[in-house]
Amino acid sequence: MTVVPAPTVPRPPRGLRHTLRQARREWTAYLFLAPGLILFSVFTVFALGFAFYLTFHEWSIIEPDKPFVGLDNYKGMVEDERFRRSVINTVYFTGASVPLGMLIGLGIALLLNQPLRGRAILRTLYFLPVVTPFVVVAIIWKWLYNGDFGLFNFYLLKTGLIHEPLAWLADKQLAMPSIVLMTVWTSVGFSMVVYLAGLQAIPEELYEASRVDGAGAWARLRHITLPMLAPTTFFLLVIGIIGSFQVFTQIFVMTSGGPVDRTTTMMFYVYEAAFKFYEMGYASTLAFTLFLMLLVFTALQLRLYRRNDA
């Protein structure tokens, strides 16, 4: 995988003593690597192993003994109604917010990908929600959704689209769609920018050739633009799924998982189990399960980057 530059001198025979000598000669390399490696070993490598270890233990911060319980945490999880609920909610959230954000982002990118006056300003405006801190976004939207004085109810009532104020985040049916809408608002700008980069990488000759062949705008979009954007779409999808499966901030700030667990996502449940009920073992089991569910996508993501590792 790593391409070692061809040595100018033929490689001397390898042996332990030689390796040690070389290691000593290159001691600065280890020194340079040390800070990163130490932090990484503790906070990622060790943590990963420790997380796995925790899943087999009943580990409460409050109780002094932390007994080994075998697979009990996993068994408990399978029977846990709230866990099932949290998986459904997470899948619902991801399935709705990721494609929507990508689709709208693609639409805006297609419209922006032509010589327009004020193009840069428009692009910046659509990107602003991406750079707004997430907590701030959640605070604004919580206010917008407020049943008594929120802007959504005001304008919907005013235009006659609804006749009764809606409860939005407090409504069992509406809570999750409300979170999805807010999330789409923050993610569109990112998809747009990535799609714009993808669009500009499509060679202009392809379009010229198709014009000569008499292809219309729709045919060009279907047969050139979209296929050429497939790697971009794939990238956004993978990144989007990984991020969405770990959705937390907007849930914490806007609904705290309510009403009646309608917005309790897997990550929120992990948080509650660990830092509200102090069941570190069970929480770790939940987190590890989430990790396993993401593993396929993580592997895909790794391959995406490795492909560029030329």
Binding site: P133, V136, L302
Partner: protein
């Protein structure tokens, strides 16, 4: 992305059939028009929540709840900002908002430290992986690579426990028992984020394009390894480092989950944490909250505006090669 990257308008075919001319012109007007008709209202909808936040931050508490909502503050006031920075201490105290300016300072300390440490540690490791040969290199690199994409979700709980049991800190004994360790400390907020395998990976990619001859020349001139790294390699990586700095800073600035988990002392709240807890605990100083939200957003907007180019390049750098 500069204007030069804009797709060039399709050249007119060499011998245009005369009948197509008027249709073409019509299309060149019609297409941008449709684009504007969709993009401009869309942009207004996208900016409206932020515009409303700014307006709200200048309104007295009472007006925030007014019906119809006010887009232009009827009674503009700086009370929210005053509260945020703790001017007029007794009012702030009476409304449970004392010491909130501190959140902002904490965020600045944490985000700056994380960025500086990451740039330094990441580039040191990246240089070693890209340009040095030593026993164990590929093995260690594989370790980084293999765990590069481990989501923070899994490491959250073990890391919390690790920090809690750091020996000899926060009232802990030598075995890491008894106190709270690095929980509720700047160490805890900063150090777990002080290195990024992904950052190392990206920088390594970049550094591999530096010709070896350049480094060898410096070596022959008798430069020490650190000097080569500092004076030759780093300056050549400026674009990549800039993109990384922006991302790391914005990420650290708005990070919420980690501070939420390890901080309980309100003196150590970062801006996102303080604001979020303020909302969920149903405090009443909404004017302060709005002002605080604006202040927490400003650095992000400023960084974005200044470095827009690097920002967007960074996205494609971290994502795809075209």
């Amino acid at each position: 992305m500069s204007a030069t990257l804009d797709p060039v308008q399709a050249p007119v075919p060499p011998v245009p059939p005369p009948a197509r001319r008027p249709r073409r012109r019509l299309r060149t007007i019609w297409k941008p028009l449709v684009a504007y008709l969709i993009l401009v209202p869309g942009a207004i909808l996208f900016v409206a929540p932020l515009a409303w936040l700014i307006s709200a931050s200048f309104q007295p508490v009472g007006d925030l709840f007014s019906w119809p909502p006010q887009w232009i503050p009827g009674n503009p006031t700086l009370d929210g900002y005053r509260l945020f920075f703790g001017v007029g201490g007794d009012v702030a105290e009476a409304r449970g908002a004392q010491g909130v300016g501190r959140w902002f300072i904490n965020s600045a300390i944490v985000a700056t430290s994380v960025t500086a440490l990451q740039l330094f540690f990441n580039s040191l490791a990246a240089y070693v992986f890209a340009k040095r040969r030593f026993p164990g290199r590929d093995l260690i690199f594989l370790l980084f690579l293999g765990t590069m994409m481990v989501p923070p979700t899994v490491t959250l709980i073990p890391n919390y426990l690790v920090l809690k049991h750091i020996p000899l800190f926060g009232g802990n004994d030598i075995f890491g028992i008894g106190g709270h360790g690095w929980l509720d400390s700047y160490y805890g907020l900063i150090l777990p984020g002080a290195v990024s395998a992904f950052g190392i990976f990206l920088l390594r990619q970049y550094m591999r394009s530096i010709p070896d001859e350049l480094l060898d020349a410096a070596r022959i001139d008798g430069a020490s390894e650190f000097r080569i790294f500092w004076k030759v390699v780093l300056p050549l990586c400026k674009p990549a480092l800039a993109a990384m700095a922006i991302f790391t800073f914005t990420y650290a600035w708005e990070d919420f989950f980690w501070p939420l988990v390890i901080v309980s002392d309100s003196d150590l709240y970062t801006a996102p944490l303080g604001l979020a807890l303020f909302v969920t605990k149903n405090r009443t100083a909404w004017d302060m909250l709005m002002a605080g939200s604006v202040i927490a957003t400003l650095p992000m907007i400023v960084v974005f505006m200044i470095f827009q180019r690097n920002f967007i390049r960074g996205i494609s750098l971290s994502g795809l090669k075209g």
